[in-house]
């Protein structure tokens, strides 16, 4: 497997021989990314290359067009779909592009694709600012995740990541550099809007293009004011936490006797515009919380016995109150929350004022903590749709059990954003290590039901969703044909 010799030599002249390789070992290590389906055939790239600038990326993409060599871009390898689907592709690894600037006063950061959320967050915390680390973890690329979805429980207040894209620098599939927002006028990433049409919808597509529409090489992202007190880390690698300042944060676990009450309370919390995190807590998350630090095996030993006993007739909410700005703010939020809880006959219990998983690390990886194989069905819609669809997924799951493991019903996670305007419904299903096909079959059935019910899947199967949503794959293909006439940008 290799790309044309002349093309390779040109690539060497672009980045220097140190930063491009067609060695089988280098390319084999670049064959995989995370979060992909085992049934996806991942091909070893023809070469891997590490550019250091937008101009180098542009030059590489032009080479790809000249020699009709496909390319795929990645940075942390932590993304679905960023692997080579065609032989003799160029794997463009953007890790070296890790520039990071922060404008404290105007509250935005300019990042290259090699910057991980944890790195950005570390620099922001020192300045009394913060970003929202996505549910997949602080090791994800800011650029890649933000132009995909940017899904984080902390988005309750400030929405999903894609809403926070400002200026953009984007190498299109044919090598043209498109600069959006204020970046189109000057070396300024402050504004996302700019003269002419706002192309951020094109940038994202449904949930990102996984480099099928070129490569974004720099973006401005909105960041937010944060508390000035330090979030003090504690603990060892297998179980670390951040101690939250108690004058600024308070966690509550709230139990409602019915899902309807919990959901109505959720709406009300949103209407009152309080809190930083609001979400339901599926039984499996409760199990994970109780077994932090004991590893996969420890979780399953606990779950075998305790799993069936965790209540499923009630619904738990977890709420993080946020006293930013004024000293009395936290007390105010608490009073409002407890009033709402009382209105809906819930029972609230204050939880330890610490956080393992939202500000830097992520609970998404807890799916891996529990070992085995997992698949995740995710939809974005209104809260009501999330609740409806979760019941549908439960019924589908029953038909696939076994070999889908017994989850003792209702594991679904409703996580709203923008104060309850939109909500993610995510359900995790586990199977034993060998049962990959069982998960595939379950997922396919869920996709069919999702399309039928009008929900919006995170990673829609085009064959299923296309006919329901105005044949969008054809429209996407038409757009790609304009921007990628040589079909080199991550072709399938």
């Amino acid at each position: 497997m290799s790309i044309p010799k002349e093309a390779y030599q040109t690539l060497q002249s672009i980045v220097g021989p140190e930063w491009v390789s067609d060695d089988p070992a280098i390319c084999e290590a670049d064959r995989y990314c995370s979060l992909s389906s085992p049934s996806d055939e991942k091909r070893r790239p023809g070469c891997s290359i590490e550019p250091a600038s937008t101009e180098e990326v542009q030059a590489i993409v032009r080479v790809a067009n000249r020699y009709k060599v496909p390319f795929v871009a990645t940075s942390t390898y932590y993304g679905a779909g960023t692997y080579c689907k065609k032989d003799n592709s160029i794997l463009i690894d953007l890790k070296r592009m890790n520039s990071l600037e922060i404008d404290e006063q105007n509250q935005y950061a300019i990042v290259g694709p090699g910057v991980a959320f944890a790195a950005l967050q570390g620099d922001l915390f020192k300045r009394g600012l913060c970003t929202f680390v996505p549910g997949c973890g602080g090791q994800a690329s800011v650029v890649a995740n933000t132009i995909n979805m940017g899904d984080a429980p902390l988005g309750w207040r400030h929405s999903l990541g894609y809403q926070r894209i400002l200026g953009v620098e984007w190498v299109l599939p044919d090598g043209e550099i498109l600069r959006m927002g204020s970046r189109s006028m000057s070396n300024d990433f402050f504004w996302g809007e700019g003269p002419g049409p706002d192309l951020r919808g094109l940038l994202r597509g449904c949930a990102g293009h996984q480099s099928r529409l070129g490569i974004v090489t720099k973006i401005g992202v909105k960041v937010f004011p944060f508390v000035s007190e330090e979030l003090k880390p504690e603990g060892w690698a297998y179980h670390t936490t951040m101690n939250l300042p108690t004058n600024r944060f308070k966690w509550y676990n709230i139990r409602f006797s019915s899902r309807d009450d919990a959901i109505n309370a959720m709406f009300e919390i949103g209407r009152c515009e309080i809190a930083l995190v609001v979400m339901t807590v599926p039984p499996i998350f409760r199990g994970v919380a109780r077994t932090r630090g004991v590893g996969c095996g420890g979780f399953w030993e606990f779950w075998k016995d305790a799993g069936p006993k965790l209540s499923r007739s009630q619904t738990d909410l977890r709420v993080l109150l946020y006293g930013i700005g004024a000293n009395k703010r936290l007390a105010y939020e608490e009073k409002v929350l407890l009033d709402i809880v009382a209105d809906y006959k819930g029972s609230a219990r204050e939880a330890p004022c610490r956080d393992e998983t939202n500000f830097m690390a992520a609970d998404a990886i807890c799916a891996n903590v529990v070992g085995g194989r997992f698949s995740s069905e995710v939809s974005y819609e209104s809260i009501n749709q999330a609740v409806r669809y979760s019941k549908v997924v439960d019924e589908i799951t029953d038909k696939h059990r076994p070999p889908i493991l017994q989850e003792y019903n209702t594991t679904d996670w409703v996580c709203p954003y923008e104060l309850g305007y939109i909500a993610k419904m995510e359900c995790l299903r586990m199977a034993a290590v060998e049962d990959r096909q069982a998960l595939e079959d379950w997922k396919n059935d869920c996709q069919d039901a999702c399309a039928e019910g009008g929900a919006y899947a995170l990673v829609p199967d085009n064959k299923v969703f296309g006919p329901v949503w105005g044949n969008y794959p054809e429209k996407e293909d038409a757009i790609r044909a304009i921007f990628d006439p040589n079909k080199v940008s991550a072709p399938e």
């Binding site: 089988p24 084999e28 991980a116 570390g122 880390p233 060892w236 951040m242 085995g372």
Partner: protein
């Protein structure tokens, strides 16, 4: 040595989440010092990372990849610092380091590795029982004339190659401290190389010879407690020896303590204290082999129950290394102001010397050490203190290259200054 099924199972469980490239995310304080893995930070290609190596290990096992020069370059520049391994214990409990060690062993078994410098080192050990090829008769030349080891004692001081031949000041400080503390101790008249570098470079046959010899010598001495001031020897005696014999640390006929553990306990028992002031602002560098790699070894025969429960396994997740005794000692010395770096304890950045890298890739080792010196400088300290002769060596050289005036001391030197 991992059985093939277990080797494959561990490598396959990696989901390429890239957590192995960072320090624990909750402990990140800045973008500059957020990374854990030296080869990933320096070389960037995914091959140069734990998940890159695990993935290529699978490909090699399946016959899809050979030990090419590039693969060798990545595999043998890993310092085996264990940062990736510890990090994975948060998410997946993959035994990352065991896979990389086994990958090296397979490379050696197939005649492709290790690096020529490692083979030369092994030849030195074969001939002279030390990694330098130095005269074995000169192994105890460092002993101060005014220190008299006992003929018979409960405690045995295991010196290690670096302190015997390259950093005698560490061995000298150690025995003077033991003498001042009134602790009778022995030294082996026929101490051989601990074999640390042999274990690290997959040359297990010769490593086992070293292990068998030293264990027998320790047993014959009658010592129950082996003290060392060499972090690499510490880890080798405590972890690698039982591992290669398919035993647990608790099954060994001796207990290993680092000199800092021993002195710390004497201090707690009121049997030792530092009586002189050492006015100095310092930071402490956790040697990998004394910290996250230093947990006791528990022998385990792989056995799993669905979906992925390791039956009867005692996990090593980095918590039980030697973290506090050196810090207690430094805090217990008048005049010392201890300021921590950003990446400490199980998040510590490697000095760069380990895994045979200091022997075969000195430039990369120096680069890695330079990163650590730069991190120390951000604390405003005048000196780095560590507990390993090779950490002292490489950090000291990096500090010289950077011309910062930063001093690097072994903790035994500081302790001696505080107790004369």
């Amino acid at each position: 040595m991992l059985k093939v099924e277990e080797y494959k199972h561990q490598a396959e469980t990696c989901v390429r989440c890239s957590y192995c490239k960072f320090i624990d995310l909750n402990w990140v304080k800045s973008s500059r010092f957020s990374r854990q893995c030296p080869i990933d930070t320096r070389y960037r290609f995914n091959l140069y990372s734990a998940h890159g190596l695990l993935h290529t290990a699978l490909a090699e096992l399946d016959g899809k990849l050979e030990f090419s020069p590039k693969l060798m370059d990545a595999l043998w520049q890993c310092t085996l610092c264990g940062g990736c391994d510890i990090r994975c214990k948060r998410n997946l409990d993959v035994e990352v380091l065991q896979v990389i060690e086994e990958f090296r062993r397979r490379c050696v078994e197939q005649g492709k590795g290790p690096m020529p410098e490692h083979k030369m080192m092994a030849e030195n050990v074969r001939k002279s029982h030390n990694i330098y090829g130095a005269d074995p008769k000169e192994r105890l030349n460092w002993m101060p004339k005014d220190v008299k080891p006992a003929q018979k004692a409960e405690v045995l001081y295991f010196v290690g190659d670096p302190s015997s031949y390259r950093h005698p000041e560490i061995a000298q400080a150690t025995v003077k401290l033991l003498s001042q503390a009134g602790v009778p101790f022995m030294v082996l008249g026929d101490e051989w190389s601990s074999g640390h570098e042999l274990f690290a470079t997959g040359q297990l046959g010769l490593a086992k010879e070293m292990a068998n010899h030293n264990i027998k010598a320790i047993q014959n001495s009658g010592a129950k407690t082996v003290i060392t001031s060499d972090a690499e020897a510490y880890k080798t005696l405590k972890v690698d020896y039982p591992k290669i014999l398919e035993k647990s640390t608790a099954d060994m006929p001796y207990t290993v303590l680092h000199i800092t553990e021993y002195i710390d306990q004497l201090m707690k028992d009121g049997k030792f204290k530092f009586n002189r002031s050492v006015p100095m602002k310092v930071t402490y560098h956790d040697p990998c082999n004394l910290s996250r790699l230093a947990e006791p070894w528990y022998h385990w025969e792989p056995k799993y129950e669905p979906p992925n429960i390791a039956v009867g396994k005692t996990w090593r997740r980095g918590e039980k290394g030697v973290y506090e005794p050196p810090r207690n000692i430094l805090k217990g010395i008048r005049g010392i102001e201890l300021i921590e770096m950003q990446r400490v304890r199980d998040n510590a950045w490697c000095c760069g010397y380990g895994g045979g890298v200091g022997i075969a890739f000195p430039d990369f080792a120096l680069w890695t050490a330079g990163e650590r010196v730069e991190e120390a400088q951000t604390t405003g300290v005048e000196a780095i203190v560590s507990c390993c002769p090779n950490c002292k060596d490489i950090l000291g050289r990096a500090a010289e290259v950077q011309k910062t005036g930063m001093k690097v001391y072994d903790i035994t030197e500081v302790m001696l200054r505080a107790s004369k």
